[in-house]
């Protein structure tokens, strides 16, 4: 029953949220997952800010919205989001699309079928293709090193909250010493620079040490990307990020940027690859699932708690807005076992409104205990 589908992820400034929601409602989108996050920007500390913070890092609130559309409407949906939030102006937000496979869904669960989209061309909008999303999970409030490194090399990270399970669940009550709260840092970059940036994130976050975090890549098919890295005052006619954005636009992709980031430095690490399964579940089921998959030998899972919005849903339905998304990265051959497990746990029974999606993870990295010779 697997079916290809596109997941659109929008990360827009909170004050644009209402306008976006209205536009999506007009288009007939429902089953929209919403999560709050922050977008980092460099600033000049001045005034009171000088006393209060030492770094030049500040954050803007963003809302992260994601919804599923048929493959045929991928670009129209992207353009709709970009136009309604005027994402041509740097600093307002990012939107991108990923191709996923639907592995399983509850019988009543509805996917957006045909949206009322007008495929209008948006003037000044640059849609990039074939990019890579990099996600990185670190301990809560230990994301600043990675975030400022990313801003320095010209990409804008967004940070959302997640909770992680892993060794802590085998510790009994002592687990409270390892907080489950995590930061999830996400960036969307060109394919040529993805490996270098992944490498730099590993270095900045010391992810090659035990318990520090996890980084993975995911293919992105299209995206409108925000490059505004700085609110600092500009001494020139254009800021560096404006110049970079302009060249990106002329070139049509980011391949010219590889010289800036130093491709030659890629080290020889032992990366992992596999698939990421995303379980969209009702609130409270994540604990059941993660405990069961740990028993299967999976080392860890990430849980995100978004709110389900149904702006265009015709009638009041009985699904509670509190949702949980469990993301588990496994080697591809374990997919069937996990699906089997989800059937045993009854995750996709009627009334749960669950969906299980699958995407490719070409490259991932975390600290691994060296096997004894």
């Amino acid at each position: 029953m697997s079916q290809d589908i596109v997941r659109i992820t929008c990360k827009v400034h909170t004050s644009l949220f209402q306008a976006l929601l209205e536009a999506l409602k007009q288009a007939g989108v429902y089953n929209l997952h919403q999560l709050s996050g922050r977008m980092a920007v460099l600033t000049d500390p001045r005034g009171l800010a000088v006393l209060l913070k030492s770094s030049g890092l500040s954050s803007e609130p963003v809302e992260v919205l994601s919804f599923l559309v048929p493959v045929s409407q991928e670009l129209e949906a992207l353009r709709l989001v970009a136009a309604s939030c005027r994402l041509m102006i740097p600093g307002r937000g990012t939107v991108y699309s990923e191709r996923l496979r639907v592995l399983k869904q509850s019988p009543e669960s509805q996917l957006n079928q045909q949206l009322a989209l007008t495929p209008a061309e948006v003037p000044g909008l640059q849609v990039f293709s074939d990019m890579t999303a990099i996600g990185c999970i670190v301990q809560r409030s230990q994301s600043d090193e990675i975030v400022s490194m990313l801003l320095d090399i010209g990409v804008v990270p967004t940070v959302t909250y997640a909770s992680g399970t892993g060794i802590r669940d085998r510790l009994g009550l002592l687990r409270i010493t390892l907080p489950k709260e995590k930061d999830l840092i996400q960036v969307t970059v060109g394919p040529a620079e993805a490996d270098v940036i992944t490498e730099k994130m590993i270095a900045a976050g010391h992810l090659d040490r035990p318990g520090k975090g996890f980084v993975y890549q995911a293919p992105v098919s299209h995206g409108v990307i925000n490059f505004k890295t700085s609110k600092r005052r500009i001494g020139h006619a254009a800021s560096v990020d404006q110049i970079i954005a302009a060249i990106d636009q002329i070139q049509g992709d980011f391949s010219w940027r590889q010289g800036l980031t130093g491709l030659e430095q890629v080290s020889r690490r032992s990366y992992m690859s596999g698939v990421e399964l995303s379980f969209y579940l009702k609130e409270g089921l994540s604990e059941t699932l993660t405990q069961a998959v740990m028993a299967l030998g999976v080392t860890g899972a990430t849980v995100i708690s978004p709110k389900l919005l149904n702006p265009a849903y015709p009638a009041e339905n009985n699904i509670l807005p509190a949702r949980e998304i469990v993301r588990i990265m496994v080697p591809e051959h374990l997919t069937e076992n996990l699906l089997q497990l989800s059937v045993e746990l009854g995750l996709c029974e009627a009334g749960q409104e669950s969906i299980i999606l699958c995407s490719r993870v070409p490259r991932a990295f975390t600290y691994q205990k060296k096997a004894r010779p």
């Binding site: 919403q34 954050s59 009550l173 509190a322």
Partner: protein, 681 residues
């Protein structure tokens, strides 16, 4: 399984970060109080050892309590909030809300604090206030409880139907100001204004606030639809719980107004003709007499007996003979004139010994374990009934299995232990330091006697007495004395000299320390001190820390906990300064409160829903277990010097100013965001 060294390796950093967080939180206020007392007031710290121990306990207790909130109370509240709307009809939710609010008020010990602030209230000057604090104290607690209960109901309705907080503020604040203005016009009612406004400030404590916040966050997660406030869901109850009790107390005052006499002079109040109508203010005629003896001038004592001097004297004599009353009567007699003293005591020697400065009041050595049990009891009273109520609702009514049960119960236990250790520490450390400071603070601008440094000069020779001329030709007697290699000039008081034993009893005084431009420089020091103390105490408040962490969580780090706490700290500091100014110059509270609240209406209209929620809620949590004892000690210390009837009003001032500071910061943030979005930066 992990080995013990591995377990310790996990526990070590965990404990260290949590303890250090609290050390940082209390560092400012502690070092500030110590340095101010040593360097500026130049008074040694009494009982330094036990104070240091107490401060250590505060740090450990706070760390445990905060962790308990995070592991136990807040997840419990949030889970309940998630499950409640789907399982219970609206009426059930509202009933639950009311009981929760009522219960939280009974659990928080803050109302007792207000009775301390009102301990010097004179029944004839503010009869209604006296009545409320003494004979009708239960009613006062019920009124506040109903106010809080109603606030939680309104808050729940707000979460369920996505109401904005602004219209509620626009309705309640003008209503409140109007009611207060009306009470201000009525001499019988204006005495309770300070009490009513302070009730609003103290209702929301370190247990209620995190619970109610978490509950609101849980409900907001399952309520369908979306709100413009986005990240501020779960807030607002604290604001309502600060405003509605004020209205409730004012209404109770209106209701009881007919039962009490109008304020008048002490002589009229205690006269037999009036007494029958006033007696219900006291629990008996004896209590009424005690109140007259303790606070009224001796002329009113006579009035109590209808001008019958002999009746007064025999009554006093009779009570002086009773062992349990002797010390009390002796203390009060010191204020009487000499003929009355002589008539009661019978001999000049007895009168002389009465007038001698009393020996240093020795406090009984406090039993540490007894203190611990009493703080454990009060912590249990604040935490257990509420959590038990929530657990019962969760298990029996909602029939849900609690996730992570072991973690939640561990959290509740940590909160309980933490709170009792913390209260023990406050009692023996922080509030002792604060009250030493508060009573000595007026020495910045006025001479303050130091009875605990009382000296007795042996073999006093009246020959050393000298005289100095005043401009009007009158003489003042003084003599020189040498202590610690310093020659001091001491004003001679014949009453302190006992020619029979040759002893001269001398109570040194301290200050005024700052004489520049009259009293002004000393008063300025006091006001700056009040500001910094309010700021420092706020940094350590547990409820504000919990609120700050919640704000940081909900805004995913865009509004940092540190920024919120600093902003609120500055606001509280400013409010406490204003409150101290109110006491020193006896300014009318209403005219200090009305302009800030009107300004707030304006600022709220300009601000985004999110900042309105955060700002108004921060105001409610500022006055907690650390600020209140310090502020009250200072307020009463200054109030005694200034001769003010009651120390109310400081807390109310400290609740309004942080709203202003947070809203101003919010407006600045909004302005910067707009510039970013328009591509202007």
């Amino acid at each position: 399984m992990l080995s013990w060294p591995e377990k310790l390796e996990l526990l070590g950093p965990y404990l260290r970060t949590r303890l250090m967080e609290q050390v940082r939180a209390v560092a400012f206020i502690v070092s500030y109080l110590v340095l101010f007392q040593l360097l500026i007031l130049r008074i040694p710290i009494v009982q330094a050892g036990s104070i240091a121990l107490g401060l250590g306990l505060v740090v450990v207790g706070l760390a445990l309590f905060m962790e308990g909130l995070k592991l136990g109370l807040m997840p419990l509240g949030e889970q309940l909030g998630i499950k409640l709307p789907g399982r219970s009809p609206l009426a059930g939710i509202l009933l639950f809300a009311f009981v929760l609010g009522l219960g939280a008020t009974f659990a928080e010990p803050a109302i007792g604090v207000l009775r301390i602030a009102g301990s010097t209230v004179k029944a004839w000057e503010a009869p209604l206030l006296y009545f409320l604090l003494n004979q009708r104290a239960d009613w006062l607690v019920y009124a506040v409880g109903c106010g809080v209960g109603l606030a939680v109901i309104l808050g729940m309705l707000r979460f369920l139907y996505n109401w904005s907080l602004k219209p509620l503020i626009y309705t309640l604040v003008p209503l409140l100001l109007g009611l207060s203005f009306w009470c201000l016009q009525d001499p019988g009612l204006n005495g309770i204004l300070g009490l009513a406004w302070d009730c609003g400030a103290v209702t929301t404590g370190p247990v209620t606030v995190p619970l109610v916040l978490a509950l609101g966050i849980g409900i907001s997660r399952v309520v369908s639809g979306h709100t413009t406030e986005g990240a501020a869901s779960g807030f607002g109850v604290v604001t309502l719980a600060s405003l509605l009790p004020i209205i409730a107390v004012l209404c109770l005052g209106l209701f009881l107004r007919a039962q009490v006499p109008a304020p008048g002079s002490a002589d009229d109040f205690f006269s037999p003709a009036q007494r029958q109508t006033h007696q219900h203010l006291f629990s008996g005629e004896i209590k009424m007499l005690d109140h007259a003896l303790e606070l009224a001038p001796p002329s009113a004592w006579l009035a109590f007996f209808g001008g019958d001097q002999t009746a007064l004297i025999t009554t006093l004599q009779k009570r002086y003979q009773m062992p349990e009353d002797k010390a009390f009567i002796a203390r009060q007699l010191q204020r009487a004139d000499r003929p009355l003293q002589l008539a009661v005591l019978g001999s000049t020697a007895a009168v002389r010994s009465l007038n001698l400065p009393t020996a240093r009041h020795k406090t009984a050595p406090e039993n540490m374990s007894q203190q611990f049990w009493s703080s454990l009891l009060s912590a249990a009273q604040a935490i257990l009934p509420l959590t038990f109520f929530l657990l019962v609702i969760y298990r029996l009514l909602l029939r849900e299995r609690l996730p992570q049960t072991d973690e939640i119960f561990l959290g509740i236990a940590l909160a309980l232990i933490g709170m009792s250790i913390f209260q023990l520490g406050i009692g023996s450390g922080l509030s002792r330091l604060g009250s030493q400071m508060g009573t000595r603070l007026p020495s910045a601008y006025t001479a303050l006697p130091l009875p605990e440094q009382k000296l007795t000069l042996q073999n006093f020779d009246p020959g050393v007495i000298q005289h100095a001329l005043r401009p009007d030709g009158s003489r003042v007697a003084f003599f020189f004395s040498e202590q610690n290699q310093q020659i001091q000039r001491i004003q001679y008081d014949p009453a302190a000299h006992d020619p029979v034993t040759g002893q001269y009893h001398y109570t040194p005084s301290h200050g005024p320390l700052f004489r520049l431009a009259g009293k002004i420089s000393g008063l300025a020091v006091v006001i700056v001190f009040a500001f910094l103390m309010g700021y420092g105490a706020t940094l350590a408040e547990p409820a504000l820390n919990a609120l700050g962490a919640t704000v940081e969580n909900l805004t995913v780090g865009t509004f940092k906990k540190g920024l919120l706490i600093q902003t609120v700290g500055v606001g509280v500091g400013a409010g406490i300064s204003l409150g101290v100014a109110k006491i020193i110059w006896n300014l009318p509270l209403f005219w200090l409160l009305a302009p800030p609240y009107l300004l707030l209406l304006l600022l709220s209209a300009r601000s985004s829903e999110q900042f309105v929620n955060i700002a108004w809620d921060s105001a409610g949590v500022t006055t907690g277990p650390i600020t209140v004892p310090l502020v009250l000690a200072m307020g009463l210390g200054i109030g005694q010097q200034a001769g003010v009837t009651e120390g109310f009003g400081i807390l109310a001032m400290a609740s309004v100013t942080p709203i202003i500071s947070v809203l101003l910061v919010g407006l600045y943030v909004q302005y910067r965001q707009q510039k970013l979005l328009n591509g202007e930066v």
